[in-house]
Each structure stands twice: as structure tokens, then as C-alpha cells.
Amino acid sequence: MARATTTSDVFNAIGEPQRRRILTLLRAGELAATEIAEELDLAVSSTSKHLRVLREVGLVRVRDEGRQRYYSLDATGLRQVHEWTGGFERFWAESLDRLEAYVGELQRKEEDDACG
């Protein structure tokens, strides 16, 4: 179940399987909270709690229409995850940091060998 400590962090928010199911479902497009509950066979109250957590970390956005609340995926929260997973720029920034350190190591080793 949603715990208070999980609400502020996107990674904790998606560590919960039901919330991942909700995100997967929303890939197809916007859905009302009641439709999500029905589709996933969840209680409306627990669906609402999960949706609130997802909304607080920026993974879903909400739109009110009449008496219904409609939810869709929000890229704001996804961006954080992309930054963590890498992307091309980070891949090479970190690889080249490592290359630089490694080449320095090789260089020192060869100088030592030459002296010894």
C-alpha cells in the first residue's frame, strides 16, 4: 500500500506494482479514474490513492470534466527517470570520464615500467 514516505520520489512511486499497471494502462490514452479501477479490478478508493501518488511525482496529470476525473501520462516525471537511465549524452559523458581516468592510469603504469 502507499506509504507516506513513497509519495515524493518517482522511483518509489513506480516501485509499487499496481501503480506500474496503471501507468501501463494509460499508455493507450486518457482514462477516467473509475475506468482504471474497473479495468484493473481495484477498489475505487485504492485506485484514487495510487493516482494521487503518481500525480504528486509528476507521472500522471488530471483533468476534471463534469463529475469525472480523467488521467493521462505526464512526461515531467518520466524525464527524471530518463536522466537516471542515461540517454546518449550521459552515456558518453560518463564513458569519457572513465576513459580519461583509465588512460591516466595506463600512462602512469607505462611511465613506472619505463623507470623500473
Binding site: 513513497t6 522511483f11 518509489n12 513506480i14 516501485g15 509499487e16 506494482p17 506500474r20 501507468l23 501501463t24 499508455r27 518520466l78 527517470v81 530518463h82 537516471w84 537511465t85 542515461g86 540517454g87 546518449f88 549524452e89 550521459r90 552515456f91 558518453w92 559523458a93 560518463e94 564513458s95 569519457l96 570520464d97 572513465r98 576513459l99 580519461e100 581516468a101 583509465y102 588512460v103 591516466g104 595506463l106 600512462q107 607505462e110
Partner: protein, 163 residues
């Protein structure tokens, strides 16, 4: 040379990265030529690399797997297209043997700058859309949600064990 597909301008389909490294280019070039070296630095922090095949010659391949911090395995295949020691490397890269449609080509140049090396990586994609996709998802080849699910599986496990 492979004919680059697409009609979009090259500058819209490429990513260029440069880095000045304070070591002679012969040494920097050498770090690219042997899996013992490549495995020590290729990939972001927390990733490890396992080489399956390594043939350092034009037309030869470096077939390897990258292991992400969460255990996700990313198959990779690099085919060396052009090798000019210690100045230039050109290679075609794709995610494993069957991922041909997502291949892209990178040219690495090693320029001497008073004993240091200016490294330039220029990757050209087939289309701007492919570039934008790879720019965002490289190292996370699945769709965003699957990626979320996979990357955080271990977070879920930690929660489950009460850690």
C-alpha cells in the same frame, strides 16, 4: 562508404561530443583497440561489459553485452568500418545481431593538441526521429513505461523485504 539514408540535413540527424584528454593520442587510441581496455571504461558508471567476439579490423565486429545496475542486459554489436591508427575510428552500432534497422554510425577522431588529445565523436542517425529517440533512450531501449518497471523492480524488492 555506406550511403546515409534519409533526406533530412545531416546536422539535424547527428550528435557531436568532444572531450580534451590529457594524454597522447596513441594511448587514447589504444584504449579503444582491445576489449581488456574497452571493458574498463565503456559505458556509464555502474554498467559492466562482457565481450563475446572482438575482431579489430575493418569489417570485424565487437559483439558485447552491457549489464545495467539493475541487471538489465543490453546486447550490442559494433562493426568497425574504418581504422586509421592513431587518428580515426569509424563504426556502425546496433543493439545485437537482429537490430539492423536501428543501426547508426559513429566517427571518432583523435586530434593531437600539444601532447593532449581532442576526442570528437560524431554519430549520424538515419533520421532526426531516430536521433531524438536514441538521444533520450540510449541505455534504456524499451518504451518508457517498461523501462520504469524494469529499472525499479529492485526498488520494489527492497520495499518488499522491508529494507
Amino acid at each position: 562508404m555506406r550511403v546515409v539514408e534519409g533526406i533530412e540535413r545531416e546536422e539535424d540527424r547527428q550528435i557531436v561530443t568532444t572531450r580534451l584528454i590529457s594524454a597522447p593520442r596513441e594511448l587514447v587510441f589504444r584504449a579503444w583497440t582491445d576489449p581488456r581496455h574497452l571493458e574498463r571504461w565503456f559505458g556509464p558508471y555502474g554498467f559492466t561489459t562482457t565481450t563475446r567476439v572482438f575482431e579489430f579490423r575493418p569489417g570485424g565486429v565487437w559483439e558485447f553485452e552491457m549489464h545495467g545496475p539493475d541487471g538489465t542486459v543490453f546486447p550490442n554489436l559494433i562493426e568497425w568500418v574504418e581504422i586509421v591508427p592513431p587518428e580515426l575510428l569509424r563504426y556502425r552500432q546496433q543493439g545485437g545481431r537482429d537490430d539492423d534497422q536501428n543501426a547508426f554510425e559513429t566517427t571518432v577522431t583523435f586530434a593531437d593538441r600539444d601532447g593532449a588529445t581532442e576526442l570528437t565523436l560524431r554519430t549520424i542517425f538515419r533520421t532526426k526521429a531516430q536521433r531524438d529517440y536514441v538521444a533520450e533512450n540510449y541505455g534504456a531501449v524499451e518504451g518508457a513505461i517498461e523501462t520504469l518497471a524494469r529499472l525499479t523492480a529492485y526498488v520494489g524488492e527492497m520495499e518488499g523485504t522491508g529494507a
